[in-house]
């Protein structure tokens, strides 16, 4: 076999159909699916002129696991672990969207205590997701140390969550009509200590990273996403809030008991990477506020409905439920035909919309900036590919 033949074929399906510009002095660079800063198996085809990106095109599908199809062949409780595996960093929000969609279809009223537990755990999970993102973006910008400090706190949160959920990453904690296990005093106590600790750590994070000159130069006025670009692509979450629109599902379409808590929706109208960075850093503090309020007013009662359906068969009909995940609006559209498994389940992954605007934003930036923009979108590839 002549090995040299393979040199002549120009890449695979995508790179063959990647239309470069008319210029002849450009380089097509295949960034990913194995690349340190594509956060998993995202692949981006870049056409570069020197280090300037002329065209960028994300290629998806390397970790497509058919989560939507799986829902159609599994019964409702069997699908419970799946949503947590789409976005493994904010698994509980996905859990919540799935569980709440079924509950809404079946008109199940969740006990008060269960709602509080859901809020507390979901916000803890949001903090740990943002902490990991914080470490990861700095890793992409070349600083190694922050991710270790982030993991210090993240591990503590995981230890807390492990007590009642039993897992550390891909949680499967919410059930139809409540949660799987009650929280105990140690959980409450640990959560309070961790919240206080995170408030203290905020200063260190600010000193080490947020105020850092190099970082500010790398993030400020880089990757500007105007608000209409966000709207055109349906970007949500910190990406949208970093562009100045304080849209948060917890406030816009309040679900569960979020209307009882006092928290701010941070928004920065600088539209740049720094805006998105600051939104997330503020959100950690807002989540702490929510958790503390929820812990203060935690009612007694059942953690799950005593007559929660073990094998639910929702009536025929369709329902949409959206929750605010760490990356944006997580939506689940569930169509039931009255059977023991959904007729169709559509997962709306926020990362997918957020990634779509990348190819427009990345045009004309440097490779290093593209990496920073990609990181500032906070992508979780399994969620995008589903």
């Amino acid at each position: 076999m002549n090995l040299d033949l393979r040199l002549d074929t120009k890449g695979d399906f995508y790179s063959q159909r990647f239309q470069p510009t008319e210029r002849e002095d450009t380089l097509v660079l295949n960034m990913g699916p194995q690349h340190p800063s594509t956060h998993g198996v995202l692949r981006i085809l870049l056409e570069i002129d020197g280090e300037y990106i002329l065209r960028a095109e994300p290629v998806l599908g390397y970790i497509h696991r058919m989560h939507e199809k799986m829902a159609e062949v599994m019964s409702y409780p069997q699908y419970l672990p799946n949503p947590g595996r789409t976005d493994y960093l904010h698994a509980l929000a996905w859990n919540w969207a799935h569980v709440a969609a079924v509950e809404r279809l079946m008109n199940i009223e969740v006990p008060e205590r269960a709602e509080y537990i859901r809020v507390i755990t979901c916000e803890l999970n949001r903090i740990s997701s943002h902490l990991l993102w914080w470490g990861a973006i700095l890793l992409d910008l070349g600083a190694f140390t922050p991710i270790m400090y982030a993991f210090d706190d993240r591990e503590r949160i995981q230890d807390i969550m492990q007590r009642n959920t039993g897992s550390r990453l891909t949680y499967c904690y919410y059930r139809f009509g409540g949660v799987a296990a009650d929280i105990d005093d140690k959980f409450i106590e640990d959560t309070r200590t961790e919240c206080a600790r995170l408030k203290d750590r905020a200063k260190m994070f600010k000193d080490l990273v947020t105020d850092n000159f190099i970082l500010r130069k790398r993030m400020e006025e880089i990757g500007e996403i105007p608000i209409d670009t966000c709207r055109r692509y349906g970007a949500t979450g910190p990406v949208l809030r970093g562009s100045g629109q304080p849209y948060d599902v917890r406030r816009a379409e309040p679900y569960s008991i979020y209307d009882r808590f006092d928290f701010k929706i941070p928004a920065y109208d600088t539209c740049d990477s720094m805006g998105r960075y600051l939104v997330r850093m503020d959100e950690i503090q807002e989540s702490i506020k929510i958790i503390e309020q929820a812990l203060d007013t935690l009612p007694e009662g059942d953690y799950i409905l005593p007559k929660a359906p073990k094998r639910p068969k929702p009536p025929a009909g369709d329902v949409y439920f959206a929750v605010e995940g760490a990356r944006g609006k997580i939506g689940i559209h569930l169509v039931s035909d009255g059977g023991k498994s959904p007729y169709r389940l559509k997962l709306r992954a926020p990362g997918f919309s957020n990634l779509s605007l990348f190819s427009e934003v990345a045009q004309g930036t440097l490779i290093a900036d593209a990496v920073a923009i990609l990181a500032s979108l906070d992508l979780v590839i399994p969620e995008i590919d589903r």
Binding site: M74, S75, P77, Q78, Y79, L80, P81, N82, R85, T145, Y149, D152, D159, Q162, R163, N164, G166, S167, T170, C172, R175, A180, M204, D207, L208, V209, D211, N212, F213, I214, R216, K217, K310, R311
Partner: protein
Amino acid sequence: MIVKSLSETLSGMWSLLVGMKVTAVNFKSPQITVHYPRQVTNLDGYRGHIELVPSDEDPTKSKCIACSNCVRICPGACISLKASKPKKKAAPEKTDAPSTANEAQPESKKEAPPKKAKPELQSFVLDYNYCCLCGLCVESCPSGALRYSSDVYVAGFTRQEFVYDLLSRLQYQAQKKEQ
């Protein structure tokens, strides 16, 4: 303009020094990691693969009533169990259909009439390769016969090593405890 950019640069340099101070403080602070194989701190809440709970009378027997609830709910279809037909020929019309008899088991087994002999568990095999550790089997078990083990040291060379025969595991553990 020069003054402005100069002052910006100087404050920037100062922020770098502040950053270096943070890492210096952390350098001096005590370590927060645990030396894992020698120190294990957070295994108490760990949900490992499932294991059978021994019954109160006989530690080599399981509490399992072979109702197959776990088999049905498992998303990965990794549990398979076999049950013997009830030995006592109390109800011959039911012995020929053990599966329906299993399903007919009421949720509270103690109130079951004694003449309906319990099917005895013969094997309970967990294919850990496909398990996603969701814990739905434990929750669905009406007799509390399943629980999580804290077995974290799972490593092997072949897939077959992760197909656990939980009943023999239970018997082995019971024997070990006796010794």
